[in-house]
């Protein structure tokens, strides 16, 4: 069934198809339509879930954690300040190995107040132990929502799927809504590995002393490593049903390329058109879309970027005092590539607070990357007018 829908509603439909059992949420722009649509679905009985309308995002995540340790499939959605408020409980979900799924609509952090898109909200949660998946289209948002539950429940880690404010959240696109029976085959009811159970009582989250804490974190890290393979299997299964897959990393027209763009989110779509134009003009330019940010697809990046002359990473985010975050992570991944194969990496910071990233901007970036022998600095800010 194809429907035209905004990205936010693609999330809601994914949650509906996933037969989520407990939703707990708090409104924030530009996420709110996700939970508004879910309210309607719960109210009209199409989604027979418990819906807790909490008094804060902190409590939204806390309630999801409670519902998850009770053994159920749980969901929430947020953005920016709301995600930041959840921070403590993001650690609790991940450290507690609870497969909560959350949609985060990428929105810039205040101050100044800004409701438009950039990635600093989700990337600030990098080290909380959540799997992070960045989406490019509303179809990908719908598919990733459903896949996230399967992935989370297989590795006992929470998953954050991420979509750009307005460019996806409020933009209508056609979405092929997978039939319920097909989703049911792909994603049966959650059978928790461990849960609160009066017939088998355990304590969860107790004091762990130095003699065991490191091992706890090691198991968490192993689950993250495992998540790379499990994501591949999840995509295999989803592709068998729907014919669609995205990859942790997608290589677009990378064959023989001497220059590769590295993108995430909706900038990718714009970059595709630029790559097509440049290819048509005979230029060897390609694109690497990074969907999975945690666990970081280090091996894929090394194999795709190793041997390429130049790489331009487009970061709609900034780690103040360092650089664009995807650029820094990519640089780090490339350290182990032999020096003769290691590309020159240009890290561009752009599009913050929702500023438009047009084909013209990306063309300028390609020209600049070709023109210079080395980047002048690790963070190359695009279009700054002082």
């Amino acid at each position: 069934m194809k429907k035209v829908m905004i990205g936010n509603h693609a999330v809601s439909w994914g949650v509906l198809r996933s037969r989520v059992e407990v939703i707990s949420a708090y409104p924030i722009t530009p996420q709110t339509q996700i939970v508004e649509a879910l309210s309607d679905m719960v109210a009209d009985g199409s989604l027979p879930a418990q819906y807790i309308k909490v008094e804060s995002e902190h409590s939204a995540m806390a309630a999801c954690i409670g519902a998850s340790i009770a053994g159920t499939r749980t969901f929430t959605a947020t953005s920016a300040q709301g995600l930041a408020l959840m921070h403590e409980m993001l650690h609790w979900a991940a450290g507690g190995r609870l497969p909560v799924v959350m949609a985060n609509v990428n929105r810039a952090m205040a101050p100044g107040w800004n409701i438009w898109t950039d990635q600093n909200d989700s990337l600030s949660q990098r080290d909380t132990g959540w799997i992070q998946l960045y989406c490019e289209t509303n179809q990908e948002v719908f598919d990733t929502t459903i896949q996230s539950f399967k992935l989370a429940e297989k590795v006992n880690l929470p998953v954050m799927l991420v979509l750009d404010a307005f460019f996806l959240s409020h933009t209508s696109e056609p979405v092929d809504v997978t039939e319920q029976e097909d989703v049911d085959r792909f994603l049966p009811r959650r059978e928790a590995t461990f849960k609160m159970d009066t017939s088998d009582p355990h304590a969860f989250g107790a004091l762990v002393r130095p003699d065991a804490y490191t091992e706890m974190r090691w198991h968490q890290q192993e689950a993250m490593r495992e998540a790379r393979d499990v994501f591949r299997q999840v995509e295999d299964e989803w592709e068998a049903i729907t014919g669609r897959r995205y990859g942790a990393v997608e290589a677009y027209r990378t064959e023989d390329a001497d220059l590769l763009l590295v993108t995430s989110g909706t900038i990718t779509s714009t970059a595709r058109t630029v790559v097509d134009e440049r290819r048509a003009a005979g230029e060897k330019v390609g694109l690497l879309k990074v969907k999975m940010f945690r666990p970081f697809p280090t091996d894929e990046l090394r194999s795709h970027l190793g041997g390429v002359d130049r790489v331009a990473v487009l970061d709609r985010n900034i780690s103040p005092g360092h650089g664009g975050i995807f650029a820094e992570e990519t640089r780090s991944a490339l350290y182990d590539v032999p020096p003769e194969d290691r590309p020159i990496l240009f890290g561009y910071v752009l599009g913050l607070g929702g500023r438009d990233v047009t084909p013209g901007v990306i063309n300028d970036i390609i020209d600049n990357t070709r023109a210079k022998n080395q980047p002048e600095r690790e963070d190359l800010w695009v279009g700054v007018e002082l």
């Binding site: 059992e21 407990v22 707990s24 879930a49 418990q50 807790i52 309308k53 909490v54 008094e55 804060s56 902190h58 409590s59 939204a60 806390a62 309630a63 999801c64 954690i65 409670g66 519902a67 998850s68 340790i69 009770a70 053994g71 159920t72 749980t74 403590e88 409980m89 609790w92 609160m196 159970d197 009066t198 009582p201 355990h202 304590a203 969860f204 989250g205 107790a206 004091l207 762990v208 002393r209 065991a212």
Partner: protein
């Protein structure tokens, strides 16, 4: 109270194991033991940061024979809401979910989540065992600390300025179906209240005064005496509030001088006779307010 009456009212089976990690003389495990006796094994406990985070025992142990979820300081009510919703979504409407928090986790950092849950009338019992300061972190003042008390953040040269927050009035204002105060010195009253709370649906709140020998600077064997004295002298009256409006005392409160109660606790040793007189006046004033609530409702 005779042993016969206690046996009639208080179940024999313990769901709290020996070997827990409370300080000698601590009222908190006594309270937990009585509460779990009243609730029975079909109970799940949510435990935000508090002394009980330690008392329950480190991984991989637990001193409770019921499922226990340790959580962050301010999230007792929110996590309990989530667990209950999870159980209900799988068709279990019978298991009792409780949050068990200290005064810091209830009066201060957890109040927003508690207010939210109470306003939604979430179906769980919230217990606050109140030792009148942040005892687990080494005795810092909370909004439950009484006026005049020493803590490590209210030194004797500048002791606590504010009277104890009226948490029962706050909870009653949410019009929750059941709220009560209870004391480890009145175990039958406590157990009866918990049993009653268990039969009610919606948010229930039970506030238990929990004397703390290291924090109150008292002897280990004074806990029950002090808890009883707090009730008798009207410092911590025992009452129930139904639907936010019907207030009822559940035991006799003969009143009288609070001086011995104060003087036996070295956290108050810097107070002058005049200051103790001020506390006496405040206790009388609060009793007047409570008596009006009982007489006229709110």
């Amino acid at each position: 109270m005779s042993q016969t009456i206690i046996k009639q009212h208080i179940p024999r089976d313990d769901l709290l194991a020996s070997g827990h990690l409370a300080c000698p003389g601590c009222a908190a495990p006594i309270a937990m033991n009585l509460v779990l006796k009243a609730l029975g094994p079909e109970t799940m406990v949510v435990l935000p940061a508090c002394c009980w985070s330690i008392i329950a025992g480190p991984w991989p142990q637990s001193s409770l024979r019921v499922p226990l979820f340790h959580t962050a300081f301010e999230t007792g009510a929110a996590v309990a809401s989530g667990i209950k919703a999870g159980l209900v979504s799988r068709g279990d409407t019978e298991t009792t979910v409780i949050a068990w928090a200290g005064d810091g986790g209830t009066f201060d950092i957890g109040l927003q989540a508690l207010s939210g849950a109470a306003e939604r009338n979430e179906d769980f019992i919230y217990f606050c065992y109140d030792n009148e300061a942040y005892m687990n972190t080494g005795v810092q003042r909370s909004s439950a600390t009484p006026w005049g008390a020493w803590t490590t953040t209210t030194p004797t040269s500048d002791p606590e300025h504010q009277p104890k927050k009226d948490i029962m009035a706050i909870m009653a204002a949410h019009r929750i179906p059941y709220a009560a105060t209870a004391s480890v010195a009145y175990p039958v009253d406590l157990v009866e209240k918990v049993k009653k709370a268990r039969t009610i649906r919606g948010t229930r709140f039970i506030h238990i005064l929990a004397p703390c020998p290291p924090g109150w600077k008292t002897q280990n064997d004074e806990t029950i005496d002090l808890a009883r004295m707090a009730v008798e002298r009207r410092i911590f009256p025992l009452l129930e509030v139904e639907n936010g409006g019907d207030w009822r005392f559940t035991v006799d409160h003969p009143g009288g001088s609070i001086e011995e109660y104060i003087r036996r606790q070295a956290r108050f040793k810097h107070l002058t006779d005049q200051q103790i007189e001020l506390i006496q006046t405040e206790v009388a004033a609060r009793w007047e307010i409570l008596s009006k609530r009982v007489k006229y409702g709110t």
